[in-house]
Symmetry: C2
Subunit: 404 residues, 2 copies
């Protein structure tokens, strides 16, 4: 036996996280403070301050006790595929059948599988900056090359036809990942933006991967899926999840809705990557969806209330700007009047007031000079934190600043 | 807008299943017969005829009710990582810490992640023929090139140094996937085979991916992990699962044990592919592991009984041969005396006696002329089915056959 050199890990897995800071420094500092016994108001991550409804957990337990503890069929159980298909048909008007639905262990798993289906290794996958934190890593994990399309705060961070088309041409892209209602911006894409996306996708033969996990959290306007636009049902993969709509984040239950031939191939992938989703969790999801809009509205209600609170607080000052707050459990604030980066501001706010927010830069260069608040603490605490934040920003404004 | 050509799916996802028959024809025919109301004795897939123990389900429900329904930490909850590490340390003698353990949504997910970590796209991943049905597809899903190492029935389907070394040299392989106790053969690799594997791996800088999901089902001899051999802890990724050991197939809960730097990178991958495992399922796994060997023996007992039944039946005839039955819930029978392929025999057996078994060819060319029985029906039915199978084989023997 020769003196051995240990084998090397794949370049792919070594580079998933990319280079440089991952933008979670403030988050981890806040967690360390909490662990050390300090009181911190955490407005960082998108997790409800309620737990999964006990009735959903009871339904899960009943299914497990009744014996649904063996392997579940790979595309998902029929009852759940049918429930998801019926819901999508009802919400979008696009006829959707069981055969268009793959059940996945959560939305993140669906995002990964969708990119595995749409992109060959080395092909470019487009996404919109600012973006949810895992997007570039998900694309890299699938062996594709992430390419951000920058947007501007002045445009409410909305992409347009030219930006998408130019990026698709420049990189010979295979796919475009979009997200409405948007995390981190809280913007709900208007029809005109979705038409731009559809035109660019059809012009450049792009798959559209549409992350719609916040579809039940709409404060202004209406959710529109790109799959519902003319010609788009054949080239769109919709990613959905029970995490945000039903406070089932930990249950890891989601889906992909796509053309039947895509679902067939995604089932092959699932056989070799996940081997399906626990049957009793799928049964619980069927139960939860059967509760209809009432339960979804109950889960969304705290964010709706806090968003209204936030609007009244923000209207009473002229230091902190905000991106139109139309949906999702987040608020994107513009603190450029302080002359600080989002990261510097977030660190200062944590040090001075023990309030933790995410720097805009955590979600891409486009959101520099912004911070994202998750509206995930009790109303009183949330209001106090936002008022404190605004006062703090006011004290940081350079003396030569003139509010617009 | 131009007339659009629909975008294409990735070559990768189109080719996951490879070409040709997938070998599941008998299985699907049997399922169709059952659906049509016929009585079929199904000895096809590796799923217990018991359900998950109610005490485990109760522990799961308690955890969910207590609020463990939010995102769980990505490498896995500390209590479960510690429990797995302690169990591996105890069973193998190799010091194993929490930092060596990643919790995954099942063993299949662990197999995929391990190949993602070890192989760059286009690199060769070796595996032993005969093999568990998903192995080549899992390797293809990870973008690597599957290369089987053929073994012979006469060697109990055990690989040796030369076969592995030759394959590693010929293909510049990055990894070697091994499985003991073995599905489909029921063989438990002896120390000499594992030493061959270790020598070949160290000589050729191979990662060893060791699928040990049947480690609690041992009828003869003892389970030995390649990770326990000198120098191997630095280049072995062990795949484990609660599916077979605790009848938790549907709960999708497993793990990878590997060097700490590998687990760190696998955590990056998990963040972007699964986003973790339900916390209440992890709590249930902690509870199940805390029951110790007694529960594991209770779950294995039916297979131990049926294997003993099978040995007494097989000793009473000289038509059907068998591969040494040492572990796992399977029995690999040699029906070459009939002059038939495994597939032809399995189809004839299904048609004539409504007994469904898997053709050996479903698990690779090396197992041609064999059939695999899963010992997953009640003892009486199992014994009757095996006796019927032996009589049926006897009637099929060509008149010029002389038993050895």
């Amino acid at each position: 036996m020769k003196a051995s050199v240990m084998p090397h890990l794949s370049s792919r897995i070594l580079s998933i996280n990319g280079s440089g800071s991952d933008g979670w420094g403030v988050f981890y500092r806040a967690r360390a403070m909490v662990a050390a016994g300090e009181m911190v108001t955490e407005l960082t991550i998108g997790e409800h301050d309620i737990r999964t409804h006990p009735a959903i957990l009871d339904a899960m337990h009943r299914a497990a006790q009744a014996g649904h503890t063996g392997y579940a069929t790979i595309p998902g159980i029929t009852a759940l595929r049918d429930a998801v298909a019926a819901r999508i048909t009802r919400n979008t008007g696009i006829p959707t059948a069981r055969e268009n639905v793959l059940i996945t262990p959560g939305g993140q798993s669906a995002l990964f599988a969708a990119h595995m289906a749409c992109c060959n290794p080395g092909e470019t996958a487009l996404y919109i900056d600012p973006y949810y934190a895992t997007y570039p890593g998900t694309i890299r994990a699938a062996g594709a090359v992430p390419q951000a399309i920058a947007t501007r705060a002045e445009d409410s961070f909305l992409p347009d036809y030219d930006r998408i088309s130019d990026a698709a041409l420049a990189h010979g892209a295979a796919s475009l990942l979009v997200n409405t209602p948007n995390n981190p911006t809280g913007v709900v894409y208007p029809r005109s933006t979705l038409e731009d996306i559809a035109h660019a996708a059809l012009d450049h033969d792009l798959w559209v991967i549409s992350d719609e996990v916040y579809e039940t959290q709409i404060w202004e306007g209406a959710h529109l899926s790109p799959r519902a636009l003319p010609g788009m049902d054949q080239c769109t993969l919709v990613v959905g999840s029970m995490s945000k709509s039903h406070a089932m984040t930990g249950s890891r239950i989601g889906w992909i809705v796509a053309p039947e031939h895509v679902i067939e191939k995604l089932s092959d992938l699932a056989t070799n990557t996940t081997y399906g989703v626990p049957g009793y969790i799928q049964d619980a999801a069927v139960f939860a969806l059967a509760q209809g809009a009432a339960l979804e509205e109950e889960v969304a209600a705290p964010f709706r209330r806090r968003r209204a609170l936030a609007m009244s607080i923000l209207e009473g000052q002229n230091v902190v700007g905000h991106i139109p707050s139309q949906g999702a459990m987040y608020l994107m604030l513009d603190i450029r009047s302080t002359g600080m980066t989002g990261e510097a501001f977030a660190n200062a706010l944590l040090d001075t007031h023990r309030i933790a927010v995410m720097p805009g830069e955590s979600f891409g260069a486009a959101a520099s000079g912004h911070i994202r608040l998750a509206m995930t603490v009790a109303d009183d605490s949330f209001a106090v934190a936002l008022q404190t934040l605004c006062s703090f920003a006011g004290m940081l404004i350079p003396s030569d600043f003139a509010p617009a």
